[in-house]
């Protein structure tokens, strides 16, 4: 451990090393090399770095990042949340939701209520419909309680109009009665400014600490270069990887026999049924392994909660089946998920007796692709760049002898 201990002198500021490096090295030759000693030397290096001006740098960087966070906060459009409350029969509501929250209906709603004005010139209506579908939530706090329709949109008035339109559509379809009309939100629903500034300060201090460390290792320039290079490579890799969208839907199975739920899932993923889906939607463009691929990309996960799931409002004796389908095409990802959910809830399909299946969450697809996640890609690249730089610094510590003045 002693050689490591002596290499730690390099973490002290250069001016300090010029004055005390030689005698400090001699001192470290005499002290027993223990872990407490190592941490004490590290702590001393940190204090000296801060004393030599890196504290000011840390404060400066933290202030700049905090300022940037504040500016970002100020310029980013906040999402306004409007909520309408309806009283509905859940079965009727689920049946009508397929139509009302369907792509065609949402596209008409966007045009009629003049939603997403800025984006309509450059984003296709189908994409905007998906965006609205992703930002509209219908949920209930209690099983038989009123249903809340929440819509998140960057404009307060638009959020109100959208929430009210969806609520009205359910009322018009005689699936619900309006309890409370949609409110006009006064404040955007976003994290408080203080949280952003605190985040900026933490990131700034972290950056300054890394700078102090790498400055001591004399590798801060390679660190910056490798960090930027890693981020660019991460973004490039994320751009090259084809987009995969994920469709999601949830159905609830009510039965006294838990094993019967497995039969329901098996019937939906039967090879003949999958082959029919492949033919119907021309999936995987004539690939002979299309059925096998669909089997891999389509997952029906059973949520074994025999006492009900408060998140989805399912009661005791109900089991949720979460349908996931990953596909490169956003539209097909939703359509296939919808088709599987529709098959599961189809009353004409023969099932073991005593089983009732109902829709909990109609199919939707996130506007952003599931894979690749560009944030994760760039973050991984940055992390790899920094790790490479740390390895470079450690290699330099061991490869180069410390420049100490010898008597």
């Amino acid at each position: 451990m002693r050689p490591v201990l002596k290499r730690l002198i390099l973490l002290y500021p250069k001016s300090w090393r010029n004055r005390y490096g030689n005698e400090f090295g001699a001192f470290l030759d005499e002290v027993p090399p223990t872990w407490p000693t190592l941490f004490d030397v590290l702590g001393g290096a940190l204090k000296m770095q801060m004393k030599s001006g890196n504290l000011l740098r840390a404060a400066g960087i933290a202030a700049v990042v905090a300022l940037l966070a504040g500016v970002t906060f100020g310029t980013l459009a906040g999402q306004y949340r409007s909520e309408a409350v309806i009283h509905a029969n859940k079965t009727q509501l689920n049946a009508e939701a397929r139509t009302i929250l369907g792509r065609a209906n949402l596209t008409r709603l966007i045009l009629r209520e003049n939603l997403y004005q800025k984006d309509r010139a450059r984003v296709p209506p189908e994409e905007l419909a998906l965006r609205l579908r992703s930002s509209a939530l219908i949920w209930s706090e209690r099983k038989d309680g009123p249903m809340r329709i929440r819509v998140y949109i960057p404009d307060a008035a638009q959020a109100q109009r959208a929430a009210q339109s969806i609520a009205d559509a359910f009322v018009d379809a005689k699936a619900a009665a309006l309890v409370d009309p949609a409110n006009l939100p006064t404040h955007p629903n976003r994290p408080p400014l203080l949280a952003d500034v605190q985040f900026g300060l933490v990131v700034g201090l972290l950056a300054a600490s890394l700078f102090a460390l790498f400055n001591g290792l004399k590798v801060w320039k390679p660190v910056a270069a490798l960090g930027v290079a890693g981020t660019v490579l991460g973004v490039a890799a994320a751009s090259v990887i084809p987009n995969i969208y994920r469709g999601l839907s949830v159905v609830s199975v009510r039965t006294s026999d838990a094993t019967a739920v497995g039969e329901v899932i098996d019937s939906a993923t039967d090879p003949a049924r999958l082959a029919a889906i492949v033919r119907q939607f021309n999936l995987y463009l004539g690939d002979p392994q299309a059925v096998q691929k669909l089997r891999e990309h389509l997952t029906l996960k059973l949520d074994l909660r025999p006492f009900g799931n408060p998140a989805t409002g399912t009661a005791r004796g109900s089991y949720d089946i979460v349908i996931n389908f990953k596909y490169p095409d956003q539209t097909l990802a939703q359509i296939v998920t919808e088709a599987v959910a529709a098959y599961l809830t189809d009353e004409n399909v023969q099932r073991p007796s005593g089983i009732a299946v109902e829709m909990v969450a109609p199919a939707f697809v996130h506007a952003a692709p599931h894979i690749p996640n560009r944030l994760i890609g760039s973050g991984t690249g940055l992390a790899l760049g920094l790790v490479s730089a740390v390895m470079l610094g450690i290699w330099r510590m061991f490869a180069n002898r410390p420049r100490l003045r010898h008597a």
């Binding site: 300090w16 005390y20 030689n22 005698e23 400090f24 090295g25 001699a26 001192f27 470290l28 005499e30 002290v31 407490p36 000693t37 941490f39 004490d40 030397v41 590290l42 702590g43 001393g44 290096a45 204090k47 000296m48 010898h406 008597a407």
Partner: protein, 119 residues
Amino acid sequence: MNIFEREVGVANRQPFGYSYYVTRNNDPALLVLASLAEGDKHGYAMMEDIERFSSIKLGPGTLYGAITRLEESGWIAPVPSDDRRQPYTLTALGRKSLEHEIAALNDVLKTAAKRLRQA
């Protein structure tokens, strides 16, 4: 300017991390001054001496942090040596400062002892 600064003329120099008058008895700077009051010593000798008289083991980083601050304040000074191990000596300013620190600590101790007796 307080009395201590006026007497020793070291405004803006604070080798002790706390008050001029009352320092904790485990302040590394005070321990180094106390050790050097006996005679010139290099780092390792100081560390052993401090452990002997105070049972406090100062780590290398802590000890040299204190040495750096004390030397910058002019309270200790390096002694010319052919050895890689650099001995230090207490300067006149350092000696006077140590006397003031001891007096201040004594005042605190006497007051505390007196109050304990009265309680």
